[in-house]
């Protein structure tokens, strides 16, 4: 049997329909409202340089006595965790009775090019933790790290474990030299010193292109062809544009922090080896003895599952738990499936460890 069940007139019809969809879709584009992101009520409670610490307004009468601080990655923007109604991990956590704070790193300027990981971990994060502890008169906080924010959270916990009660890492790379880590492979032999000495801060556009080049045919090509199928549906188009806004909303990376992160984490795999040095101290994950929940995505093309799973063998905690999400790196925060799975699991896990 010939596998092609296409006829010429059907092909022309299909291409004509495709063409006319594009043309009629123009009207939908014209009618679109402003693309808004971040739906949960929040207020800025602490600011330091470009960094802002937000406190989300509780949605339940009673909250977990230990507040949760979300540490986002330095790449991209944190509103992805609170994208829109029905696709907000933050909202899910608030509904679980968790008192949520989140760090917004802002947009580094050239004056920030000398910020190091020490400034981020022992500076900004520690200041935020101290602020929350003072404000809530609690002795410790719960920490949730997202992607690179998970790496920063691990470093922070290793150095300031006395202030952290429970640690949650989500799609966090730990072992940067696993077999399928395309991103790690790409940067392995790049002269990072030359890059940072030339560029200063690393532009967001450069990072964008690196991430898109992991799956160029799907992310640069197919995505826009598939867009034609939804172009006449205003809601779906808004969802698409919201994600598109987030994908291309990339802050620059502070040069020195970028240099250290790529060299010590990606190139030298220092986190598992215990050679990452922050503020004069080596990060030793074996010292982490508090409860840990490690959440990873099975189809993550940015952080391979093996890279995240490696955390189990590195920490000294006797209360280590893991949660596997059947989805991708971004889907774990924005998909409908994730909202039903992740916040309730986190809520229950934290309630069991009050």
């Amino acid at each position: 049997m010939i596998p092609f069940k296409m006829q010429a007139d059907n092909i022309i019809k299909e291409l004509n329909q495709f063409n006319s969809k594009i043309m009629t879709g123009l009207d939908t584009f014209r009618e679109l409202d402003e693309i808004t992101v971040g739906i949960s009520d929040k207020e800025s409670v602490y600011e330091e340089d470009n960094m802002v610490l937000y406190h989300f307004k509780p949605r339940t009468k009673k909250q977990n006595s230990t507040p949760l601080l979300i540490v986002y990655a330095l790449v991209n923007r944190p509103y992805m965790a609170d994208l829109q109604e029905g696709r907000s991990m933050v909202q899910g956590l608030l509904d679980e009775g968790i008192d949520v704070y989140m760090i917004d790193w802002g947009y580094p300027c050239s004056a920030d090019q000398y910020l190091t990981l020490d400034d981020y971990v022992n500076g900004y994060i520690d200041d935020c933790v101290n602020f929350i502890i003072d404000k809530n008169k609690s002795k410790k906080i719960n920490l949730l790290g997202i992607c690179q924010g998970g790496c920063l959270s691990l470093c922070y916990t290793s150095l300031h474990q006395d202030k952290v009660k429970n640690l949650i890492t989500t799609v966090t790379p730990v072992d940067f030299h696993t077999k399928n880590d395309i991103l790690s492979h790409m940067v392995r032999k790049v002269d990072i010193d030359l890059v940072v000495d030339t560029m200063g801060n690393i532009p967001g556009e450069m990072l964008n292109m690196t991430f898109l080049s992991l799956k160029p045919y799907a992310l640069l090509g197919k995505k826009y062809i598939d867009l034609v199928d939804i172009i006449d549906d205003k809601d779906k188009l808004m969802n698409f544009l919201r994600m598109e806004k987030w994908i291309f909303d990339s802050p620059a990376q502070a040069g020195e922090a970028y240099r250290q992160f790529i060299k010590e984490f990606y190139q030298q795999n220092g986190l598992v080896k215990g050679t990452v040095n922050i503020g004069g101290k080596n990060i030793d994950l074996t010292k982490i003895s508090i409860p840990i929940l490690n959440i990873y995505a099975t189809h993550d093309h940015l952080v391979p599952i093996d890279s995240s799973k490696a955390l189990e063998g590195c920490v000294g905690s006797k209360d280590y738990n893991s949660l596997e999400f059947p989805g991708g790196h971004i889907g774990i925060y924005v998909s409908g499936k994730a909202q039903k799975m992740i916040p309730p699991s986190v809520g229950k896990w934290l309630r069991d460890r009050v």
Binding site: P3, S110, V195, L241
Partner: protein
């Protein structure tokens, strides 16, 4: 049962008829009075009409959505190009019998045609597919060297011409500037060569993905699965291309190539920055280097300031603790002092009473001895209080 009727179209090549239908449509477009040259391909009919439509409407589009629409239209052109190529597979399909061997060799021929199309430098398929974000640099250079085709790099033509121009005696305001500019252009050539090698390797992946697509179609044929639309074909091609690409980028060869490309670009950029800095400083304009120095100092001051604030806070807390301690000592010292006074009063009352009861003596010596004794008692009492 009834006799099997013969289909009058049995003897005709159905695939040929379909292809002729498409070609006729393309030829019809040759009558379009708005087109300068007759173009017999359907993809050009569709892309040209889309281009004309977009040129008319682009200016009226809201700016924020223009980029997304541009990307969508660029990829749609690629979709049409692929559609045209894949539709050629239908030509001559009915001519052979359905044996795997003949079908596979037929498919082989058709895929070779598609491969030559993708290799053809005159179409923009690869540029639009993969290099669209990267083509800004080559396009900028195209404007400078407008007579050159960028693909002249393949024959080392451009490299030879540039090397020739570099060997001319004067290339800048002074010898050092000339040397730096020459170095910069040499670094640029290294970058361009690396970029070309990168493009070449990515283009090779196209051939590989076409081969795999061919194999997949044959296996679909065995599994009796269908491809019923151009979109399905496109999706299958994307899936296979991603697999091929994903496998390739995990090789050491790619890691080397990628790092050479980035390192050479950075080296070229760094050299350019040095030249720019020199020019700016000669014009007494603030340079990036001087700004970086200021920013570095500001960062270090900020850090020192923070450390000092923390120290100050610590000292304040210590001071507070100490002052609290002193306050509590003072209050206990005050209490002690009060007690002393009370006891002292009591003692002096007692002593006073004793002294007043005694007869006045005529001897000067005796009263003194008695007074001393009373004083020493008070002194003893004070000592005891102090000790307590």
């Amino acid at each position: 049962m009834g006799q099997k009727r013969n289909n009058p179209l049995d003897s005709l090549d159905w695939g040929d008829i379909n292809k002729k239908y498409i070609d006729a449509l393309g030829e019809y477009s040759a009558f379009n009075p708005f087109m300068s040259e007759p173009k017999p391909d359907v993809d050009s009919l569709l892309t040209d009409s889309m281009d004309n439509w977009w040129q008319l409407l682009k200016s009226g589009m809201p700016n924020k959505n223009k980029e997304v629409l541009d990307n969508m239209l660029t990829q749609s052109k690629n979709f049409y190009l692929l559609g045209e190529q894949f539709s050629k597979i239908m030509e001559g399909m009915n001519k052979f019998k359905l044996k795997n061997k003949k079908f596979s060799s037929f498919l082989n021929d058709k895929f070779e045609e598609i491969e030559s199309f993708l290799k053809d430098n005159q179409n923009n398929f690869m540029e639009n597919m993969y290099f669209d974000p990267y083509k800004q640099s080559p396009e900028a250079f195209k404007k400078i060297f407008s007579n050159m085709n960028l693909y002249d790099f393949q024959e080392n033509g451009f490299k030879n011409i540039v090397n020739q121009s570099l060997s001319s005696p004067c290339f800048g305001s002074n010898r050092e500037t000339q040397e730096k500019i020459q170095e910069s252009i040499k670094l640029w050539i290294v970058y361009q060569n690396n970029f070309f090698e990168y493009q070449k390797n990515i283009a090779k992946l196209n051939k590989k993905s076409l081969d795999l697509l061919q194999i997949e179609i044959l296996s679909m044929h065995k599994r009796e699965e269908n491809i019923s639309s151009m979109k399905q074909m496109y999706d299958l091609w994307v899936e296979i291309s991603e697999k091929v690409y994903g496998k390739y980028v995990l090789t050491n060869k790619y890691a080397d190539l990628n790092s050479r490309l980035i390192n050479s670009l950075m080296a070229y950029k760094k050299k350019n920055n040095e030249i720019k800095e020199e020019v700016m400083s000669s014009l007494n304009l603030p340079t990036n280097k001087s700004l970086s120095i200021i920013e570095r100092r500001q960062y270090e001051l900020r850090k020192k300031n923070k450390e000092l604030s923390i120290q100050l806070k610590g000292l304040k807390e210590e001071l507070e603790k100490l002052s609290n301690k002193d306050n509590s000592k003072d209050s206990s010292a005050n209490e002690t002092q009060k007690k002393k006074v009370l006891i002292g009063k009591k003692v002096s009352k007692k002593v006073g009473k004793k002294i007043s009861k005694k007869k006045p003596s005529t001897s000067a010596v005796k009263p003194n001895v008695k007074k001393k004794a009373s004083i020493s008692k008070v002194g003893l009492l004070n000592k005891k209080i102090n000790k307590s």
